[in-house]
């Protein structure tokens, strides 16, 4: 299995902690697997909760009119890359 980069692991920890995914280890999340629907099976409320946690931790808000939202939540890797580009802290 592909290893996570240190930052991907950090985002994976935030994800597991925020969404109370007790049965999942952050380091076991496959970086290219979809987070929503199949894959981890998160739903849209999880997406909101995650978006709130991201804004608190990294200091930027995900916006509803962002055309890239679908891509942002596509996988742990895509999400981590988006955060790295947008973060203010």
């Amino acid at each position: 299995m592909e290893a996570l980069t240190p930052f991907e692991l950090e985002v994976a920890r935030l994800l597991v902690e925020t969404l109370h995914l007790e049965e999942i280890k952050p380091e076991d999340i496959a970086p290219e697997e979809p987070l929503f629907g199949e894959g981890l099976g998160l739903d849209s409320i999880d997406a909101l909760e995650l978006a709130l946690a991201i804004s608190k931790t990294y200091g930027f808000q995900l916006r509803s009119d962002d055309k890239e939202n679908r891509l942002v939540f596509a996988s742990l890797r895509a999400l981590s890359q988006h955060i790295e580009r947008q973060r203010t802290r």
Partner: protein
């Protein structure tokens, strides 16, 4: 849990909806209402699943075995509100007597400038509330709606009332709840219905009448995440041209502790279910969930 409702004709029989719209706009309400009797009779005989759902509910709400007359009255009440939707949507409100209870709750909320969740149900009609709220009073309201499930109704709405159509936030898209969050931050009240479970939605079991069934936790969880109040609403059809709209304050803030999260969410949803049961007992023929609500039939 029961998702039978997604397959019900109510949710998208374009011909039936078009006919009712045509009757409402071209024939007039009194003739339209007369035509509801044969239409009701037809559904009473042909829609067996809906009839079973009606019987199960009325048995509980009336506390006795419902007669054919009760079942007829139930379906007729639903048909009458569908007809009236057309009048509400086209802004012909002058023909209705609408009494509002607890309206101060809403006015105070609007005055505060803070957003909230306006939580309703399929008990009665939400059309009176949303047309008066959005197009008459121009209150800051957005409505969360399952657009995909209900294309026929959505197209009808677009055609009849574009202002209302613009107030809708479609459910089930990645940006849906980000849109909700931004709207609440801008002081909008978000209308949602909390008594039907959508595919894949998280639920909690609540006592409703004499036994438990699944309720969605989504709306309450949303209020908790956005730290905003929850106000309940019930728009009940009272026969003739009368509607009662009730507003009730449910929660100023839904606070969740990490360790007791599920339990606390469950108890808030139970309070919603209790208020729903209270109004459903007082207005049983307004119960428009014509399916196996308690999931008692084997699949």
């Amino acid at each position: 849990m029961s998702r039978q409702w997604a397959r019900l004709p109510e949710r998208g029989n374009p011909l039936a909806l078009r006919s009712i719209r045509w009757i409402a706009l071209h024939v007039g309400r009194s003739v339209g209402r007369a035509l509801l009797y044969p239409i009701t009779g037809y559904f009473l005989v042909s829609a067996t699943a809906a009839r079973r759902g009606s019987r199960r509910f009325l048995r509980r709400a009336l506390g006795r075995e419902p007669s054919w007359r009760d079942l007829f009255r139930h379906i007729h009440c639903f048909a009458a509100t569908i007809l009236d939707r057309v009048y509400f949507l086209t802004g012909r409100l002058e023909r209705f007597e609408i009494e509002i209870f607890g309206g101060q709750t809403i006015l105070d909320q609007v005055a505060s400038g803070r957003g909230c969740i306006l939580l309703g149900s399929h008990l009665g009609s939400f059309e009176a509330l949303r047309t008066i709220g959005v197009t008459v009073r121009h209150l800051p309201i957005k409505i969360l709606m399952n657009v995909e499930h209900n294309r026929a109704m959505t197209r009808l709405l677009d055609a009849l009332n574009p202002e209302l159509a613009r107030a809708i936030i479609p459910i089930g898209r990645p940006e849906t709840l980000l849109q909700v969050q931004e709207s609440v931050q801008r002081g909008y009240m978000i209308g949602a219905l909390g008594d039907r479970v959508a595919q894949g939605e998280k639920t909690v079991r609540c006592r409703f009448f004499d036994r438990e069934t699944a309720f969605p936790i989504g709306p309450i969880l949303l209020a908790a995440l956005m730290e905003c109040p929850v106000i309940l609403f019930f728009g009940l059809y009272r026969g003739g041209n009368r509607y009662d709209v009730h507003f009730e304050h449910l929660a100023e803030r839904v606070a969740l502790e990490p360790r007791r999260r599920q339990e606390q969410l469950g108890s808030w949803v139970q309070r919603y279910a209790d208020r729903l049961e209270h109004h459903a007992r007082l207005a049983p023929y307004n119960w428009f969930n014509f399916y196996d609500y308690w999931a008692e039939e084997s699949p």
